[in-house]
Symmetry: C2
Subunit: 631 residues, 2 copies
């Protein structure tokens, strides 16, 4: 317990819930790292597709990023509305459940869950990849580094979302400050130089052109650049983390994330063009990321540059945190609706949903392990989930506004809301189609296969819970037709204090008590043992009972031919049930309480084994009574 | 269960015990492989010490092997006597316990246990080492091969000693036949050639001499050669495996082992000298074992040679089997005396002591793993245990005969017995001192350190059992001062069929029943939930009870501030105990029975958790009643 306290903090009472909620200051690091990290890999991914165009590549980046930023703004406005409309939880799951029905909400849930798991694996792996390309001596330690970060993020989130927000605040705000400054200086220099600034450290020469421009290439670059938008839905999914009034803090957090992201994306797009920066092949040695080239072109490679790149690496590595905040909250809602196992809906010792956190860590850890910490091949699977939930959520909101209008709420405002969400749905839906087409062969088909499997699993889980509910619910009013007390069987080892305590207890519960001694001896040894036990029984039990004028409890000696002690007990219980039709049988098990781990090695564990087998294999008339003996 | 049957055979009833016992045919492979394998590595170990003498080395082997064979004969006769005197179990542990007291018997037990574990690790590793030097392509697979053999031997022994004896009979008897033939041919050739036979394939040239003969070198060669004797005590330790009359089968098995071993040792000693065979450095490539050189010198490298070497490798690899037969039987006796955990004394599904087999496999597996399958450095630790038990056992027997003489049994025969065992004790004791001195620096000191630790552990375990026995034994005759039935607490989730069943049962056991609903809700949500539950309770429980004129069971709603449901229950139980001084409290837990593994994932496991915590942390007045609900 002490160790748990040290690692994860003292456990929290339900009444502490309010104090554990977060504001915008913690919200930005807790939920925003995925979105902010996107500013690094979105433009990079788009430029990487343009590599075959050679030096001309950087000329098209503005044309690609402009619709992406426009789409981002549409999403911003529409999620702003979603947060206000669903202040307790505006995640895609809830929005689709309320407006498009359970089936569509399961689609949203499956897409989100896959996306969150992939985000952890890909986020950590990409961050460590960037770290290793900056510090090549770390090359042999990619997997340990990835798993180390995973353990760190898991542990911090098990302490609570508030702790995570505080722990990761420093790198987040340093990153924002650094890159806003870099972009401001860069833009100022570019304008002063009439659009053609000279770099402090010139970027590497662009690669030779091998292809000419095609619509297909632009579509693929757009689809890749769209990864810059993932993370925008994070705030709406994590609304339950905010303190009162949640709408205010949700809006602030969402605003901070999207505005920062938009500024960074626009600045990066403008400056890569102005400084003629192109993406480099990651698999080649000497690789430098677009943001690293950009920062050194604008400010040169001084101390400030290293601080900026260091904070960028931290943000990339920690972008998995967004999943750790949202995934457990999503699973909790899905579990409360009976589509995921109940444990996902139980708050842990720190009032976060530990089962979800641990499941996320285990699954993404397994992915990292399976791919050796290099998850490039998972990236194409990645954006589909995000854009699918964008589209579903927008569509759900559009339906929501139409329903409001029919209820007769302020028609003008509602029409505007409807329009914004409908445009959002159409735009993200279109982007989704482009992404699926552009990335289908690279692996997007896997996501499209996995989503129905996850939905099938959710439905199967729900069917199980519904079945149980049907089995146990709606009892008739209690029948009080005085049933007789059960017959009590007591497996004993010897006539000792355990047996005496068990017998005394049994006699308060029922007049019909039978002690059972199980023997695996045979021949003369068995006879002698039986004789000695019966003599003890006579003196210890029968004589005092007869003196008190009671019928003494019987002692039966049964053979345990297969050393499995539950079998003779079950057999006897079955015979007694037949004889005394319908009467309950209680097996009373005396047991030494084990307080230390080594005691489990020193005792044969008969009591545990017997209880488990009786509960598993007995019929509905059999119950078990545990009588602990404390040493 | 089907899988278990397939792997380990159908489970056996106690009445099958007789049929599972073995005779001499199975006894030789089951217990003799350690001893027979010694014929390979005993002379080899002695010759390896003589390498610095160069070509002259093989000249001294007869001088070294002669006292070893004489010692072997003394041991033979004295174990022959031991078996007759202790027909049920003549192991060193029993002999020392009966004649030298418990403390000395613990020394024997510790020495034997360490020896058996080492024998498995060293035996398998040496066997695989020989295999790899014969088939060098296997070099990279040493550890997997070692662990594979360990798993095989463990699995076969879990099926039973009879199965092990049958499974390993073929390689054992082929080995004996082959090498008896090789030695017979070799001796015949040597005699016909006047002591100087010419080899079919000449052995490699001896190494150059680098040292001259010294007493210290001879002593070390003798100490190393003594490993040829390990395994002689195996039969006496495994007597309980033999069918009636055990003395007959024990004598036959012991005779077969010792006579074969003596013939092989004498033959090898004679022929290595006659053919001028010297040991080769195992760490050099091109290494060939002494027996391999000898066989090819006598018969050349034909098919028969390969059969002989193949059977030799099998015997070496399987020599661990002796430990698997004896170690569990030793542990059983020690456990029955209360010096090892009880589970070691419980016969498993195949009537062998599975706990001992699994423990042996785990410990030696860990050693193999830790040393990467190459356990050369453990060999010096090895012979000490064996010679310590030889000495203790002989001493015990000597004391036994002296005691018999004082009881007045046939004085002449007894005096002879006494003399034989006394000489045996003195001789093996002397050898033990030589071994310790010769091998102290190489690692024998580790054994000397570990033995007291093991003895300490055994005594600690015994102290625990004695303490428990004192705590629970000798109860007074049963007191029948009609105690009142316990107050029954029932934690419920809702008013459903589980609750109804639990309530009906509880009311047959006691008139005082309280249902507890634990909530972690607060505020208006909690109020509403409570209202609904109380309404159900009113209709379902209170109204029918009042109609029947009974006092209805109460419903209490408690806060579980820390989600740990056992805490409020324990608190309430404590309060009730104080209020109704000394009255028992029974917590009745309704529980859905889980029959499939996935059900454990789908249920939160509250019932299990609650029971465990209540049994662990409750006081002696608290009992637990499990009411299973079968779906």
């Amino acid at each position: 317990m002490r160790l748990l306290d040290l690692l994860f903090g003292a456990r929290l009472a339900n009444r502490d819930y309010g104090e554990r909620k977060i504001g915008a200051f913690e919200g930005l690091p807790a939920m925003g790292l995925d979105g902010l990290g996107s500013s690094a890999y979105g433009p990079e991914a788009a430029l990487a597709i343009l590599i075959p165009l050679g030096a001309a590549g950087s000329g098209y980046i503005q044309a690609i990023m402009a619709p992406i930023i426009a789409l981002l703004m549409i999403l911003f406005v529409s999620y702003w509305q979603t947060i206000r409309a669903y202040p307790n939880n505006g995640g895609s799951y809830i929005v689709t459940k309320e407006n498009l029905g359970t089936n569509v909400s399961l689609l949203a849930a499956a897409a989100l869950m896959i996306d969150y798991v992939l985000n952890v694996a890909v986020g950590i792996s990409a961050g460590i990849g960037a770290l290793v390309s900056a510090v090549p001596v770390l090359q042999p330690y990619i997997l340990p580094l990835c798993l180390g970060v995973l353990v760190l993020v898991t542990a911090v989130n098990l302490r609570g979302t508030l702790d995570a927000g505080r722990a990761f605040a420093a790198p987040t705000y340093v990153f924002i400050a650094c890159f806003v400054v870099v972009i401001a200086i860069g833009v100022a220099k570019a304008i002063l130089a009439g659009g053609h600034p000279s770099p402090v450290s010139p970027p590497p020469a662009p690669p030779p052109a091998t292809e000419t421009l095609s619509w297909w290439l632009l579509a693929r670059a757009f689809a890749s650049g769209c990864t810059a938008m993932t993370g925008v839905e994070a705030v709406s999914n994590g609304m339950s983390a905010f303190r009162e009034p949640p709408v205010k803090y949700g809006h602030r957090t969402l605003g901070a994330i999207v505005v920062t992201l938009a500024v960074l994306l626009a600045g990066v797009a403008y400056l890569t063009n102005a400084y003629h920066i192109t993406a480099m092949d990651q698999t080649q040695s000497g690789y430098r990321s677009v943001l690293s080239q950009l920062a050194s072109a604008v400010i040169g490679e001084n101390v400030f540059y290293y601080v900026a790149i260091g904070s960028l690496l931290s943000v990339l590595v920690l972008s998995a945190n967004t999943s750790f905040v949202d995934f457990p909250r999503l699973c909790r809602m899905v579990a409360e609706d009976g589509f995921l196992p109940k444990p996902f809906a139980i708050a842990g010792r720190r009032l976060v949903f530990s089962a979800g956190i641990l499941y996320l860590a285990a699954t993404s850890g397994a992915l990292l392990f399976a791919f050796g910490g290099i998850t490039d091949r998972l990236i194409p699977l990645f954006a589909i989930g995000a854009f699918l939930t964008f589209t579903l959520s927008q569509t759900g909101m559009a339906v929501h506004w139409r329903a409001s209008r029919q209820k007769g709420e302020a028609p003008r405002a509602v029409r505007l809301h409807f329009l914004i969400n409908a445009i959002g749905a159409a735009a993200t839906g279109l982007a989704l189609i482009v992404i699926i087409l552009a990335k289908f062969v690279e692996g997007a088909w896997i996501t499209i296969l996995v989503i129905p499997c996850v939905i099938g699993l959710l439905i199967g889980i729900n069917r199980y819970y519904r079945w149980i509910e049907k089995e146990i619910c709606d009892p008739e009013p209690l029948k009080l037709d005085r049933e007789t007390a059960p017959i009590i069987l007591i497996p004993i080892e010897d006539w000792d204090k355990l047996t005496a305590k068990a017998l005394r207890l049994a006699l308060t519960l029922s007049p019909d008590v039978i002690a059972i001694h199980l023997t695996h001896l045979s021949g003369p040894e068995a006879k002698e043992h039986e004789k000695s036990l019966r003599a003890h029984w006579r003196r210890g039990v029968e004589e005092p009972a007869e003196a008190a004028g009671d019928a003494p409890p019987r002692l039966m000696i049964l053979q345990a031919q297969y050393r499995a002690i539950h079998e003779p007990v079950l057999k006897l219980a079955g015979e007694l049930e037949q004889k005394f039709a319908g009467r309950r049988i209680a097996v009373l098990i005396p047991e030494v309480v084990k307080r230390h781990w080594y005691q489990h090695l020193l005792h044969a564990g008969y009591a545990d084994h017997l209880r488990r087998q009786l509960l598993r294999e007995g019929d509905s008339h059999l119950i078990v009574i545990d009588v602990p003996w404390r040493l």
